[in-house]
């Protein structure tokens, strides 16, 4: 490949191929709608230029049918593409339940990725090909945006909130990973490699990458170290809700609302416990804001997720 020039961005997934098809088809429509304007405008300007002896009688001042036609037909054509693009976009909305979850923490100016087994990497993301992967992302400072051009996907990464992005990369290879939301000084070098590997290679890579135990295990350690287990643990006598079987399920709040215990709910409950109190419990939990980092929070989430369905037991390291 010519190092100075690239003709078309690599396609690493079926979704990327489909986005390209949509893009090319819409480009064709664009040309079809523009060409008559350009040809007619140039043609009229030359054919009817002053001094030429051509028929100018009965020049129209307007035409209802024509106006209606060129209002409605392009709009209907655009609607077809609206539906097509929406179908592709919403296909990316809900991840499959069995997706591999990788945590992402962005900060000025680096990307940190954490695999469920506790493997951490900076500015590089390794994923298995052919398997759905879900990224749960947050930022430690300003807004960033994770851009994976080979997948035709991006998602802003916000402070104080989890956003997520899922994909199924099909073609093993090394692709670009960039930040696309302006985030200050080193925005343009907040970039790295997106490595899609065969599942076998991926497990080999996981083995080689060092780990201090799975994220859930690390979350469990932190759960004990922060004293969470004092109230939420099985032996506790305090009135605090048990957390086994909670993650991913509906929780009734004392103000009558029912919310789903997802990543955001767990995060907010740790940082702002008075905001959403489980029904039947007194709002006595202290805030942990300032004591836990974004990474700690994601580990705690991983722990709660691991006991979300199974009965309480220590997670595997």
């Amino acid at each position: 490949m010519n190092p100075f020039f690239q003709a078309w961005p690599p396609e690493a997934s079926l979704h990327a191929v489909r986005v390209d098809q949509l893009f090319v088809a819409f480009t064709v429509l664009t040309v079809a709608l523009t060409a008559p304007v350009f040809v007619l405008m140039g043609g009229f300007a030359l054919y009817y230029r002053r001094g030429r002896d051509v028929d100018r009688t009965r020049a129209p001042r307007g035409n209802w049918r024509l106006e209606t036609a060129w209002t409605i037909i392009p709009f209907l054509l655009a609607l077809v593409f609206f539906g097509w693009a929406g179908w592709l976009f919403f296909g990316q909305d809900r991840p499959p339940a069995d997706a591999l979850t990788i945590d992402v923490v962005a900060k000025q100016w680096m990307w940190k990725f954490e695999h469920p087994g506790g493997q951490r990497e900076i500015d590089e993301l390794h994923v298995p090909a052919g398997e759905p992967v879900r990224l749960v992302m947050t930022s430690q400072d300003v807004i960033h945006s994770l851009f994976l051009p080979a997948l035709r996907l991006k998602q802003d990464v916000l402070p104080g909130r989890y956003t997520s992005l899922w994909f199924k990369a099909d073609l093993p290879g090394v692709y670009a990973l960039r930040c696309s939301q302006f985030c200050g000084f080193d925005h343009s070098v907040m970039a790295g490699r997106f490595v899609v590997m065969t599942p076998a290679d991926y497990s080999r890579w996981l083995q080689q990458a060092g780990t201090d135990g799975s994220l859930a295990w690390q979350g469990f350690q932190r759960f004990r170290a922060l004293g969470c287990s004092g109230c939420h643990g099985p032996a506790s006598t305090r009135r605090a809700p048990k957390l086994e079987g909670v993650f991913g399920h509906p929780v009734a709040l004392d103000d009558g609302r029912v919310v789903t215990a997802d990543e955001q709910y767990v995060r907010d409950s740790i940082l702002y416990p008075a905001r959403e109190v489980a029904a039947g419990y007194a709002p006595i939990m202290p805030t942990f804001a300032g004591q836990v980092s974004e990474t700690d929070l994601l580990e705690l989430v991983a722990y709660l997720k691991s006991i979300g369905t199974a009965p309480a037991q220590e997670p595997a390291p």
Binding site: N2, F4, F5, Q6, W8, P9, V19, L22, F23, F26, T27, T30, V37, F38, L40, M41, G42, F44, A45, L46, Y48, R49, R50, T57, A59, P60, R61, G62, N63, E67, W70, T71, P74, F75, A78, F82, W84, A85, G86, F89, F90, Q92, D141, V142, I143, S145, F147, P149, K154, L158, P159, G160, T163, S180, F182, G184, F185, H187, S188, V189
Partner: protein
């Protein structure tokens, strides 16, 4: 300011002859002189912002960056964006040509509030000086969009001073919009019914509605931003209880309609250029007029298309996507009607019409790429890349600036009383079209390839297209300097234009060029529709 030499009798009794002192200009309440004051001010701001653009294009000649540090680059593109948007594009056509022409076109002696008009210029200049001081004294590295919490809690630099300057300038927009609305309602000459208004006036009316309704939201947003930055009032930063997306909603609620503030006046100009160039009544007058109002209305409901990947609900995204496709329809209607206007016309390819056609071509390409951005799945890939940069430059530079230059080439003889060399006008129109496409078309490709915007350095495979873009920018530079040169030359050396050098319809062409101080000796009475071609002229010897 140098008054042009007043050689002819028309010039001596015109608004230009009504006093030569600086004081007579700086304290004038004549809408035509205030228009000139604005023209001088925005030309200076354009030049300053263009320096920012030149730095950007020089930097991007090589992947590692040519001349600037990351810090310097971030400040350069922020300066370019802030000054171009608020101190050139928004005031460009309304405050110069709108100011000059609306009273002339509707048969009035001045705008409804002449002193408010002058006040708006001073407010604008004060806002501009505050902003420029801050941008040059130390600069700001947030981009013109000031996204939080980067702008409130993280960025260094004079953010507070810059947003103060912008907020001040916003009041100038509000006052101008108000002045235009009242003028169009109250000061139309007898017989100048709404159905006889030139389309230029219609589009300025629609623009004024946006100016008055949207600009206050910008002021509120920037005050909240300032409060968080200076007082740590938690509005946008989640660590102190704010919501980072709230800023984007508020900002784009102003800034998307602001795009229509830039493009609607240019559309009004093009309606005048095309009808005058074809010597023919506009095709579908009411469709073109109502399209302006439709754009102004629906334009308030599409801001969320800037936020498809921000974390906004995908269902909200779908609605904003639909509305964004809908707002394109009235623009398309205008383009089709302009094309149909040329049919069976008596077309003269003078510079004004060439600029009008350049507008249509570039605006059409820019508008259709806007539809691509409105499609959810495509936007998810090209959002915040050079595709977006190319798109809005096609609209704002290809569209709004071509409209501005088209207006300058059409009404220059009216404003100064002098003709410029038409050949050079044709050359500059061609050069702009060529240079513009060379600069910005490669950026569409860069965006689809995945080059994000606001990158001082980039991967090497993007170099060829970046060099092409920079080469185009140098052509564009020549094309912008050229009109400046021959317009200036014409002030002394151009031949006298006479009242109506283009044989155009419209009340402004019935006055001498340049127009007398009070525009019309007698209040004109209008008894015919706009663009009533062919002009019925009295035979010379009768």
């Amino acid at each position: 300011m140098n008054a042009p030499p007043l050689q002819t009798r028309e010039e001596r009794v015109s608004y230009l002859g009504a006093g030569h002192s600086l004081r007579s200009w700086l304290l004038t309440t004549d809408h035509k002189r205030i228009a000139i004051l604005y023209l001088v001010a925005i030309t200076i701001f354009f030049a300053i912002a263009a320096v920012g653009a030149a730095l950007i294009r020089l930097q991007l000649m090589s992947p590692a960056g040519e001349i600037l540090s990351h810090e310097g680059y971030n400040r350069a593109f922020t300066l370019h964006g802030v000054v171009m948007v608020w101190f050139f594009l928004i005031p460009s056509i309304p405050n110069t040509f709108g100011n000059f022409l609306i009273p002339l076109m509707i048969g009035a002696k001045d705008l409804a509030f002449p002193r408010l008009n002058l006040a708006s210029w001073y407010i604008f200049v004060i806002g501009g000086i505050v902003t420029l001081y801050a941008l040059i004294a130390g600069g700001v590295d947030t981009g013109w969009t000031f996204y939080t919490p980067l702008s409130t809690m993280f960025a260094n630099g004079h953010v507070l001073a810059v947003i103060t300057g912008i907020t001040i300038a916003g009041f100038s927009s509000i006052l101008t919009g108000l002045n235009f609305i009242v003028t169009v309602h109250k000061l139309r000459a007898p017989g100048m019914t709404w159905g006889r208004l030139p389309l230029f006036v219609w589009s300025h009316y629609a623009t004024s509605v946006i100016l008055v309704l949207a600009t206050p939201v910008l002021a509120m947003t920037l005050v909240l931003l300032g409060a968080e930055r200076a007082l740590h009032l938690g509005v946008f930063d989640p660590t102190i209880g704010g919501d980072p997306l709230l800023f984007q909603h508020l900002f784009w609620f102003y800034s998307h309609p602001a795009v229509y503030i830039m493009i609607l006046p240019a559309m009004g100009v093009v309606s005048e250029l095309v009808t005058a160039g074809a010597r023919k009544r506009v095709f579908g007058y009411w469709f073109v007029a109502c399209a302006s109002l439709a754009i102004a209305g629906v334009g308030f409901l599409v801001w969320g298309h800037h936020m498809f990947v921000s974390g906004q609900s995908p269902y909200a995204g779908a609605i904003f996507s639909f509305l964004s496709l809908a707002v394109a329809v009235p623009s398309a209607v205008k383009v089709y009607n302009w094309t149909a206007t040329l049919y069976k016309g008596e077309v003269v390819l003078d510079p004004p019409l060439l600029y009008g056609m350049a507008f249509v071509g570039l605006f059409t390409i820019g508008g259709l790429s806007g539809l691509m951005l409105a499609l959810l799945a495509i936007d998810e890939h090209v959002h915040d890349t050079y595709f977006v940069v190319a798109h809005f430059h096609y609209i704002m530079v290809g569209g709004a600036v071509s409209g501005f230059l088209g207006a300058a080439h059409f009404w220059w003889p009216k404003i100064t009383g002098r003709m410029y060399p038409l050949v050079w006008g044709r050359i500059s129109a061609g050069l702009i079209f060529l240079g513009f496409n060379l600069t910005f078309f490669p950026q569409y490709l860069l965006g689809y390839l995945g080059m994000p915007r606001r990158y001082p350095t980039y991967p090497p495979q993007f170099q060829a297209l970046n060099v092409l873009s920079s080469a185009g920018a140098s052509v564009l530079f020549v094309a912008y300097v050229l009109p400046l040169a021959y317009f200036t030359w014409s002030l002394r050396n151009g031949r006298a234009a006479g009242p109506n050098p283009w044989d155009a319809s419209g009340l402004e062409w019935t006055t001498p060029s340049p127009p007398p101080k009070h525009n019309f000796d007698e209040t004109p009475v209008v008894d015919r529709p706009a663009y009533d071609y062919p002009l019925t002229r009295a035979a010379p010897d009768e």
